[in-house]
């Protein structure tokens, strides 16, 4: 029994879970409105979108790279979604599917260039971020698309059953699919294999190039999904969607135990990381602390989380070297 408890405590999600339980509990004691139905709904709306953003980056962290264009792809998909409904008058479902395809295409383009040229993902996605953002601005001229169908607006803002909003549904489905991908699907296992030891994966006959392309394509779809969800929630096709995704997209996976070198990520940990960030953001508002400090807290959380992950990784590497 003790061994099992110990194993659970060592898992990636145990730490974040404890933090949520203790921190959330403390906040609830001090500010009872924290647990009100309305507040839970607001929290869940934020968590739903942010979880998908975090997963989009998490996949790329899994392969040992970084994707700076997560926000730009999400933003481009978002305004495309809104624009297609407004200007071309496409039904929401079709527009959403097309927007997801845009995300897929953008991600695939990233993956293709990275895989074929071997240039670092950082530089490639820095360039593509500007290109996608540029296309976004070129299309929208920095003006939002205002005419969002009522059905979409409702989906983004109403509840399934109190206080769980509809927006939670796509998030849960996405989380489950990503988990399934990484644990039971070849592509997912290959992503983690390449991240864990690229050379070994290659020698085993895995096509590193296609794995990289798949990872980035999936990341693009997820980013697009988050963009679409955000349009529903904001009830606007806002060109600035995605501008502030970068820090969050790294913070949550890292809090969830992801190793930046690749090969180890935790879906549950990432989602809990999103929850922590959402709770902290909310708490700052509840306690009337300057909201600008959110940035400081996020940065601090990242430092703390990578510090801990680093210690665990060093211990892991040491254990690999013994005879």
């Amino acid at each position: 029994m003790n061994a099992r408890i110990l194993r659970y405590l060592q898992s990636d999600w145990a730490g974040p879970f404890l933090i949520i339980a203790i921190g959330g509990g403390a906040i609830a004691l001090l500010k009872p409105t924290f647990l009100s139905a309305f507040n839970i709904q607001v929290l869940l709306l934020a968590i739903s979108v942010n979880a998908v953003i975090a997963l989009s980056q998490m996949i790329i962290i899994g392969i040992g790279q970084m994707n700076l264009s997560v926000g730009a792809i999400g933003g481009l998909a978002a305004i495309s979604f809104a624009g297609m409904m407004q200007v071309w008058e496409l039904p929401p479902l079709i527009a959403a599917i097309l927007a997801l395809l845009i995300g897929f295409g953008g991600g695939l383009a990233n993956g293709f260039i990275i895989a074929r040229t071997g240039i670092s993902a950082f530089v490639i996605t820095l360039a593509s971020l500007s290109i996608f953002k540029g296309i976004n601005l070129g299309i929208t001229k920095a003006q939002p698309f205002y005419h969002i169908p009522d059905s979409v607006k409702a989906f983004g803002n109403t509840v399934m059953f109190d206080p769980i909003p509809w927006l939670v549904l796509p998030m849960v489905v996405t989380v489950l699919l990503v988990f399934y991908l990484l644990t039971r699907q070849r592509v997912g296992r290959y992503i983690l294999a390449v991240g864990g030891n690229l050379h070994a994966a290659e020698l085993s006959g895995i096509s590193v190039k296609s794995t990289i392309m798949w990872a980035h394509a999936i990341s693009g779809i997820l980013a697009a999904m988050a963009g679409i969800m955000l349009v529903a929630r904001l009830q606007l096709g806002q060109p600035s969607i995605g501008d502030d995704w970068l820090i969050l997209s790294f913070a949550a996976p890292v809090i969830g135990g992801a190793v930046l070198a690749g090969g180890h990520v935790s879906v549950a940990g990432t989602v809990l990381g999103v929850v922590i960030v959402a709770i902290i953001t909310q708490a700052l508002v509840l306690f009337e602390i300057d909201p600008f400090l959110v940035q400081v807290v996020l940065g601090g959380l990242i430092l703390w989380a990578v510090g801990i992950n680093r210690l665990r990784e060093v211990r892991f590497q040491k254990s690999l070297k013994r005879i």
Binding site: T117, G118, L126, S130, G134, G299
Partner: protein
């Protein structure tokens, strides 16, 4: 390698070509006012490029260049306006402040052993957040008139005086890398940290100094923005200072500074930043939609890395590289 095969010559040729093209294509480009405005922005972009370049040389990244720059500039504004310090001291203090923020990055990176990407991603957020919090997102507009005056100063009636500042820094950095042990140690540590360490270079100390230098240069760039605006505005580098990231990389990458570290080209970075600024300005003069500029810059960066890759493999196959 012959001079005309070098990267720097290619950039120089492109600058001349595009310069000539824009001058012929639109009357506004070669106007005195535009050249002045262009050289002013160029000086700033060059400094931003330098600030990232000194970190790339050691094989790392500094995502916090914008955040550090803005923080240093706001500190300067505060020292002049709220504390009442004479502006030369405020400027020096701001540069020192930028250097210490950079040094903090360096210390965190070295002590934790983590990649500079994630550390500077976090500190970018922390520095910017603290800065916004402390300034309440308010600008300092009542600066001494010398700032705006210097920003308006022209040489030969057309070229901004700020360009001289950038060139002075360029010369200083050149001297650092070619004629001082420290500069050579930076290049060695960036090329192969293990070999450098075993040859007696204090690699950790070198990294910290590089990041401190980066912070100081970022501060200098931000002060030049203040001179141009006549005020210290917290949003001068965008949200979290992100707006500086693209120009910060474009200059060094176009200029031939390897992202892996160990090689540097001052002239290349300078010409690269200059070329990008000129292209942007020229396209704006041609009334190409300003919203497409950003996409174009991203495409240039992509093109630059691909070209660099192609050039390196060509030279490798010829046995030159």
């Amino acid at each position: 390698m012959r001079f005309y095969q070098t990267n720097e010559f290619g950039l120089f040729a492109l600058i001349l070509l595009f310069g000539a093209f824009f001058a012929m294509a639109t009357p506004g480009f070669a106007s005195v006012f535009n050249v002045f405005s262009l050289t002013r922005i160029m000086s700033i972009d060059i400094m931003i490029g330098f600030s990232m370049m000194v970190v790339i040389v050691t094989g790392g990244l500094n995502l916090a260049v914008g955040a550090i720059g803005v923080s240093a500039a706001m500190a300067c504004g505060w020292l002049i306006e709220a504390v009442g310090l004479p502006y030369p001291i405020a400027i020096l203090s701001a540069l020192a402040f930028g250097a210490s923020l950079g040094a903090l990055n360096g210390v965190l990176i070295v002590r934790s052993g983590l990649h500079s990407f994630i550390i500077t991603l976090a500190t970018m957020s922390i520095f910017f957040g603290l800065m916004i919090y402390l300034t309440h997102a308010q600008a300092f507009r009542v600066l001494v008139p010398e700032f705006a005056q210097f920003g308006k100063l022209r040489l030969f009636g057309t070229v901004s005086a700020l360009l001289i500042v950038s060139c002075v820094f360029a010369i200083g950095l050149s001297v650092l890398y070619r004629f001082t042990p420290l500069g050579r140690q930076m290049l060695a540590a960036g090329a192969n940290a293990a070999a450098a360490e075993l040859s007696g270079i204090r690699v950790n100390r070198t990294y910290i100094i590089c990041h401190a230098l980066s912070g100081a240069l970022a501060g200098a760039a931000a002060l030049m923005v203040v001179a141009r605006n006549g005020a210290a505005i917290p949003s001068m580098a965008g949200h979290l200072g992100q707006d500086w990231l693209l120009p910060a990389f474009l200059g060094p990458v176009l200029g031939g500074t390897l992202l892996m570290g160990g090689r540097v080209s001052l002239l290349g970075t300078l010409l690269g930043s200059a070329l990008v600024t000129m292209l942007t300005n020229g396209l704006l003069q041609l009334r190409v939609g300003e919203f497409w500029i950003q996409a174009m810059l991203g495409a240039i960066l992509l093109f630059a890395v691909l070209l660099d890759l192609a050039r390196r493999s060509y030279l490798q196959r010829r046995g030159i590289y």
